[in-house]
Symmetry: C2
Amino acid sequence: MPIHIQEVIPRDGFQMEKKFIPTEDKINIINKISRTGVSKIEVTSFVSPKAVPQLSDAEEVAKNIERNKDVTYVGLVANLRGAERAMNADLDEINLVMSASASHNKKNVNKTHEESLEGFSKIAAHIKGSGIKINGTVATAFGCPFEGAISEKAVMGFIRKYIDLGMDSITLADTTGMANPSQIKRFAAEVKDYAGEIPLTLHLHDTRGMGLANLIAGMEAGVTRFDSAIGGIGGCPFAPGASGNICTEDVVHMFGEMGISHTADLDQLISISKELPDIIGRSDYPGQVVKAGKVSDLHEF
Amino acid sequence: MPIHIQEVIPRDGFQMEKKFIPTEDKINIINKISRTGVSKIEVTSFVSPKAVPQLSDAEEVAKNIERNKDVTYVGLVANLRGAERAMNADLDEINLVMSASASHNKKNVNKTHEESLEGFSKIAAHIKGSGIKINGTVATAFGCPFEGAISEKAVMGFIRKYIDLGMDSITLADTTGMANPSQIKRFAAEVKDYAGEIPLTLHLHDTRGMGLANLIAGMEAGVTRFDSAIGGIGGCPFAPGASGNICTEDVVHMFGEMGISHTADLDQLISISKELPDIIGRSDYPGQVVKAGKVSDLHEF
């Protein structure tokens, strides 16, 4: 089964950038990503502009990007109002996020688990019949920066709730890069079994250097959908200078070297990554293949 | 079986640094590394000071470091004269390096394979009975920046020659970070079978982000000895700005998270890594755990 590459730079990548990225630049990069063979693009977040000023242009971005019929366009949504905004912007899918950690959920969306799930229930009822799909993300699924280890039983319970609410797909997110390969290999396999036919995505960060090792562990657990961000940007506020999301072009380069089937065009992704300094105003992003070249880029003797 | 961490910062890490690192600083960091529970330290390189000016103080370093009886102190050696220098400096082991790629060997040591092997034969004869061990490294074993793919049959042939020459241990080096996890898992397992009782080390670089994924693949192939450099410094001249050796503290941190048995002290390694800016005069080294903290370093809510 081919691996699905799901690009999150417009949301999880850009949201951490301090300098406001012009709306036109966001639309432009999303249009380019649309042609690279990725399966999904998380294009923005319909949250309060006060909470995430960088994504205050959510509607304008979502309404003005070109649409490729082979790509699912996703918007992150925090409440019913956000879901309405995403519907009006004609997105294919909304992504609902709750942290497995109670304290991280409080910090991130200022809600208890009960409040989050109640909101999701209203959103699911509202969306029903619209044709828009819902993905449910369990954030901090492998560890929380405040609480440490997370109860796997609790994560399973939240997935059960998501499935009961009729969500179309599930994401396990290693929000602050705390997962290790053994944990991913074991727990992602358990969740995959439990979710059955419901597609499961792993959202991985490379915060402590384990990103691609975790990706391989996820594949070994049977996961075929992975979020990543061009350039490896993104990250969490607690680790300034650390790596962010796993880097799309590094992931796709590794798949190519390993002979793993996928539909993404590595050269186009590298080319987009090389444009990042003009977009985010800095060139110190974590992507390695952009710096080192592909394995197949030979040198003159 | 516990994993052996073999530290190469004093040789493969420092040799690429432009600013000369004072001899006293080299001795000081090696002494600190000696107390961290690593199995081996490659302390320097007995090559021409013209070729590697950074390591022109090889004798002074080797003769003045403290010795921990649980640590094997290694010197890289390029010819008979180098072997004599290493013997006089009372090292426990010499490391002989030949590239599997003919062109890389020519570029690196200006020798054909035949010339390298003839030199190794003389060195082995000279060393015999001294109690000093010999490790044979096959460099560019997974790919060459000039030639691309490397014949695995040729690599096996060189390993056969090393064993015939009486070498005590073997290293497969991914000198410029071209290996991928599938290749490592398959080929390292073949070499491990072939080498039998002869200890096998993997020397990995993180040039294209696959370093820790390759390490796990190597472990799955049964390898228990790995070279790494504190801070992840080192690297190759063709990839300026790219990551270098796999990063010791990131490796040891991952092992800890995975519950893999080893003898290295993570906190001491992190503490040494944090001193690197004072030693190498720059703070842009690739190590991630130094930037992000350990998974177990929780944050205040």
